[in-house]
Symmetry: C3
Subunit: 632 residues, 3 copies
């Protein structure tokens, strides 16, 4: 696999005479890819039906002439103002019933069919024109689905589509009433057109109602995306990607990914650390200019799974961004470290966002490889260094990790719908397990929830999977590795009810969750062998108890292939348990210091020092923000 660099570029933002100079500088820097077009609908179609492709033709030709390959984005995330005049009801509605208006981006409801038709039209025109273009070597659909909380819409369009979706799923209101348990509070419906969206109810809506709305909304994103990929494929063989955003779990990325050739994501380590991570203030302070040492890796591994092996970073933070609560300057070297870490996790390409800092509009405080005055910013030279290092290194082929972790978007919805305790968040739980594995020096593969074969892995973790799929249950039967299930796994039926027999109801494991308790942060449940359960613990009836809490309840159940963990372990307990399971299965572990992480890629082990100070491990000293690699 060849590994390449790229950059995001907006020719429409700059005077045309500047394009050729920019292209030459990009090529000289060692970049391969230039992503363009994804916000330019208004420039492509200034008035309804009046197309202006000239500038885009010339931009692509200018880039191509410099030896660069173009990733062409469909502009459907930024419909022009005239579109909203034409389709006033295309706007999404927020949960409070307010339209989410024009003036920024992503101002559309996924369920609005006429807007979908407009998208099909523009994508068709683009694919027809640029599908055959030799410089257009990849495509991107839309931009960051779900960003700015745009997956869920409470519009009339969404309501109508939701009713159709329910009618299709349940066929009769009675079936729906039974599935949802609507008898509970006299919530039965006599017809699908009586069903509303689950917002603005007096107290919480039926969780089954909410979950179906979440599933529907996720399907709508997949349908919206598929419409575009189907059209593009008619005109080109170039691979199609979408650029996902960090910690967006509102739609099923595996479902959208099934229609893509490449998964990509937009990696903003400092922004994400500042605005979407449950960590201590001390942790935030320590990593403020480097980013969390596991957050990017976790996404790399997720998108490698979403892309079925093929994945990119489509936008890589190059300097301070503009949108987080606080926006520090990355430590010198981080723009290189982040790129190398992506490659170590199997990325095909890393594209920096963006070429030149825009001096106007919403992102004028977002750094680029160049400053607004075209002087090179620090990331420019770091990108050049990565380009030279890549050139000097042989290609690699992907290899499976020894350990796998199941990630299930529907479980994120499930536990948002019914957290039962304020701190129970699915992403947080799984990321906690991921971090625990990484702290032991382990490379990890992420698995989708319908994985039917686990035989490649000696250890598989599936914490918090609300409903284990038939495929996964099948794979667990006869599994010869070790599967650590729980906490709160297989706790719901497909209809979002409590199963009877009670959870986890795993084949061959005598374990019944009699009841659960959610816990405030200051009420840990100590484990007899050290560490604690935090946030969540289950009181189980179990036959084989491998570990217990100090108050005498099973904590870790089972001794064969299937183990059930009856709570949310703290760092200490998790490390001990994982170390034990690895030892059983002959998986070597390390004991990494804070901020030092490693990842095996082909025949090499890569080391990343996320600390603001040098770190010495196993005789090697790595500078702050430093990358080190060694032959395995």
């Amino acid at each position: 696999m060849k590994r390449t660099l790229g950059v995001c570029y907006y020719p429409e933002h700059w005077p045309e005479p500047q394009w050729a100079t920019d292209a030459t500088r990009m090529a000289d820097l060692g970049l391969t890819w230039v992503r363009i077009g994804e916000f330019a609908w208004q420039r492509m179609e200034p008035e309804p039906g009046r197309m202006d492709w000239g500038w885009l033709d010339r931009a692509i030709e200018t880039l191509g002439a410099a030896g660069l390959k173009v990733v062409l984005g469909t502009p459907t995330a930024t419909p022009p103002r005239w579109m909203v005049t034409k389709h006033p009801d295309m706007l999404a509605m927020d949960a409070q019933g307010r339209p989410r208006g024009f003036g920024s981006r992503r101002h559309y409801c996924f369920s609005h069919r006429p807007y979908r038709a407009e998208c099909a039209r523009i994508v068709g025109l683009m694919a027809e024109r640029y599908g055959p273009n030799p410089h257009v070597a990849a495509w991107q659909t839309d931009n960051e689905y779900g960003c700015h909380d745009t997956t869920l819409s409470y519009s009339d369009a969404a309501l109508g589509a939701f009713r159709d979706w329910l009618a299709q799923k349940y066929q009769s209101p009675d079936a729906l009433n039974r599935a949802w348990g609507n008898v509970f509070w006299s919530m039965d419906y006599a017809g699908f057109d009586e069903i509303g969206l689950p917002n603005l109810t007096v107290t919480e809506a039926n969780p089954a109602h909410v979950m179906d709305f979440r599933r529907f909304a996720s399907d709508e994103v997949a349908g919206f995306n598929r419409l575009q990929t189907d059209i593009i494929r008619r005109h080109t063989d170039a691979p199609i990607a979408h650029n996902y955003m960090g910690r967006i779990t509102e739609f099923d990325h595996f479902a959208t990914g099934a229609d893509l050739d490449i998964a990509s994501w937009d990696s903003y380590p400092l922004g994400f650390l500042s605005d979407r991570l449950e960590v201590t203030p001390e942790h935030k302070r320590h990593f403020a200019r480097q980013g969390d040492p596991d957050f990017q890796a976790f996404h790399h591994d997720i998108y490698r799974a979403v892309g079925r092996g093929r994945w990119w970073i489509m936008e890589q933070q190059p300097g301070p961004v503009n949108w987080a609560p606080y926006n520090p300057d990355p430590l010198p070297g981080m723009a290189r470290l982040w790129a190398w870490e992506a490659f170590a996790h199997g990325a095909e390409a890393v594209c920096y966002f963006r070429w030149r800092q825009a001096p106007f509009a919403q992102e004028q405080m977002h750094a680029g490889l160049l400053r607004s005055d075209s002087v090179a910013a620090p990331a420019h030279d770091q990108a050049g260094q990565v380009a030279r290092e890549l050139a000097a290194m042989p290609d690699v082929e992907p290899t499976a990790a020894p350990v796998a972790l199941v990630f299930d978007y529907a479980s994120a919805w499930a536990w948002q719908t019914q957290p039962q305790g304020r701190d129970f968040d699915y992403f947080r739980l799984v990321f906690h397990f991921y971090r625990g594995l990484r702290a032991l020096g382990l490379s990890v593969d992420i698995l989708p929830p319908d994985t039917a074969d686990l035989s490649a892995y000696r250890l598989v973790l599936a914490p918090g999977v609300a409903t284990l799929s038939p495929a996964l249950l099948g794979a667990l039967t006869g599994y010869t590795g070790t599967a650590l299930i729980g906490p709160r796994s297989n706790a719901k039926t497909a209809d979002f009810a409590t199963p009877v027999p009670l959870p986890p109801n795993l084949p061959g494991l005598a374990c019944t969750v009699a009841r659960v308790e959610s816990l405030p942060p200051d009420l840990p449940v100590p484990l007899a062998q050290g560490g604690n359960f935090l946030h969540w613990r289950e009181k189980c009836e179990a036959a084989e108890v491998a570990e217990a809490t100090t108050d005498g309840w099973p904590a870790l159940v089972g001794q064969g292939a299937l183990r059930y963990l009856a709570g949310w372990p703290d760092e200490e307990a998790l490390a001990r348990i994982l170390r034990g399971l690895c030892a059983e299965r002959g998986i070597a572990t390390l004991d990494l210091p804070q901020g030092l992480r490693c990842r095996d890629s082909g025949a090499r082990r890569f080391w990343f020092n996320y600390n603001p100070d040098p770190v010495t491990h196993a005789g090697v000293t790595i500078p702050a923000a430093g990358v080190h690699w060694q032959e395995l």
Copy 2:
């Protein structure tokens, strides 16, 4: 008085063949009561006007055949979906102007007259049919009035009814303008139809306007309830109850209670500790699995007053609930302790909520006496133990406590309308005084604000009563016990103005509040004899100063029957002051350790250990979550 146990049951949630088994198990456990029906409108009337009573007939008969008595609830808290189609404007509106839609429960506006007519219709049909039924031994109206913040509605129905209410009260706009002081900011009205609801004003609305809206809203609840009790009484002599919810103060429970035979409340000690108590984090942690040691008792005493002596617990928490920020598992024994505490405070019956944990819909994570798989949960056996203990104990007759505390719902509205300091909350203030009495081992009676005779009590407290009623002022004249009035008592006229002469203007007490100050939590005002005023203090001109602050202002005024307390005392100051007043009146006090509480009932003193550890007091050791009783 015979004391009994019961349970809440939803036959419509379970297959009919299971009913008889359930009934037998209930009877075998020693239960007397089964509450049913209160959410089943859709099952009773699946389509407008098409009644289906068969299942309910059979359910009642099945329970009755097992020897159980039924409490039958009117289903008006859960109107079916077709009702909202029929009356789209029946929905309440929130203060932001959004309708509060179908999909959960309590989706109605108390002021919507056509919905009232629908309620009258269904209640009439039920009363006619089941009033004569020998197994239906009690009735419940609706369910948890005011829960989910449903007392106040800003709908058109509420607006119209409010204008009528005002016209009735004031007779002329000029009278209203004068009463409210509308001259203040040119807020005068020329007609009642110019008056709006006091939401969405630019800055705070006139507090007199808000207070009238609060009084109106409370009256609407009483009227809604009275409609039902009037109808039921035409068909039966069985007692009628309503199940109030914890710390709901938005309507006057005494007013609603006047139309009931029995007051009952729904006691969820762990949920309430987690979500509605101003206590320290350490206190929350210590009592996380037991509940606050005074919160239940306070409500017991309130509802004994609301029910004029007759009161129940209609819903008793049996295990983890689903709705608080955190939902721990109660300590073993608490389901017994809570029941015994209710009986010690004079409850006639304690019903657990619910028989079997529902596997579907909103409350699937709410424990029952049985698990969803019908296995007994811990509370099942604790209920059985209470049943056996009750059987072994003689009946008791209620006795008056030596000390009384006035509780006035209108004062809760008054100080929400005009807190003057962020931390001034009426419930919090009165509960603080109640806790202070309990910590001294005192049994307490709660008195309504229009109490006209205090002669049964040697000590009466009336903190924060915004306007002392003529009745209570009359009772204070010539009172021979000690009445501790203040802080902030009699501080408002009936029109919610500042009285002149200035407060407290008590007969025979030379004391004038010159001005007040509200205080941030870190700015206590020390008292010369120890302890502090917190949150609130008043600078008084007074003749007889019993205690003073260290900055020289009167803190406790008066030496005869009337005493005025010029601030919010902290725990230390309150304990000292109360101990002193008790000593004067010959009321014996104890000095109870944290978490240990006692209550006298008939000839017995009951002890309750709310601590997670054993406690030893006066030579007796009570285990964690333990109950102890002794002859007096």
Copy 3:
């Protein structure tokens, strides 16, 4: 300049027989001014077109007969209820799209032209009638523009006026598109009637869009005010004032002030400390009953600038107020200290708010000089003392301070629109610099952002001025004092874009801000000479580096007249830098203890002890809440 006292009075609130007594008591106390009328529209015009001036004629005559001078307020902040019936669309809309209704005050949208016509009518009638009245010696327009967040309105009236304003400014949509950089996300407009208000967008609106809306909204306030001043001036030569509210920065007070003769503000030191200051809890506790020692002074100096030398306090807190989170009682003496501090800063008059505490409506918990029962409150006698002290002291003439600080309302909007870091607030930044100057014992003049001549000052500070005006840039060229510019100064073009060449782009100063970082509070950047940058730091390329950070970046740049500060200094760093600059320019500084402040006025230095304890400085002991003055 003669210095006088006054009071706010509402004759319409009291029985007419009481007026004469009140007037006599006011005059006896030594008051000169009585402000009346500003909330009495309904009493002046009880029905549309039916005027009732009789009561106001008599009130003015009664006050005048007692020797008092009247400040007459226009009542446009409280349109009567009938006005809203007549113009239902006159209400402002909040950013969530909800009308801000009748029932309190300020319920109008500045952009509603028919309401403006109503205002012109009532002001015309008043000016015609009372302009010639010898007792009416000054006028006030409206009341506290912008209070209760009323500057910005999202109504249809505002939308229409905004579009007109944009059309006037840009002349063509293309010009606007270019200025705003609308190409960025396909946000171009084809016509002005396509442009919306910048609320309810999916993610942040274009900051240039927001800034133009902010400029527009500020212009609307100025236009609303000018309409009134133009009319009043046709009928009288009496000076016209407006009473601004503390820390209101939503409109340009200099622009409004240009149409006034006198600027005045409403000074509520305890309320402001409680609800609108970023200070430590310890600071709030220490000054809880005195107010922040610099907040009032800062406003005094701002309004002296806004009034071009002529300024008043129109409302002075006399005791506890009713509207802050906590409302303590001022320390004895503070009502005197606050008045004297205003006079030391050049106030012509200080009016207490209000004469007698109202017993009804919204402000019944707001103290006055008299209690509601007409007994003197503490501030009454303190006002009397000030009156006697004033009488004993000679008149003063204003003198320029040695140091000046630029204050620019548009910069407040700029950094609210684009804070880039959560803690970057313009008012907070400038106030921090002001406090730093005051702690050095310096008297300060505030300068508007278009100041064209700095020659009166030896030291000028301009932190955070988003765009330096041509006038100010001109004044800096050839300036012979020292100008400390930055942080974040001249960082935006007039179109709210990043300038190229990059900021600060100051004439003759080699300094380029390469990039910035916003910092969480726990991530300071230490300076090599002590202290830190907090919240914000810039990485500059600079020639002359006077100070550096410990990580090697320039912190203070320049050695001549122009210095650039590349971050937000903490107290220690700021004191050191200011001391150095003062020393260079021969400005004497002191080192004042906490809570002690001084101000030079004419030939006197006034000392103010804001501490709750006596303080000794330079051999003089000043009691708590004490004022001391000495000849210079």
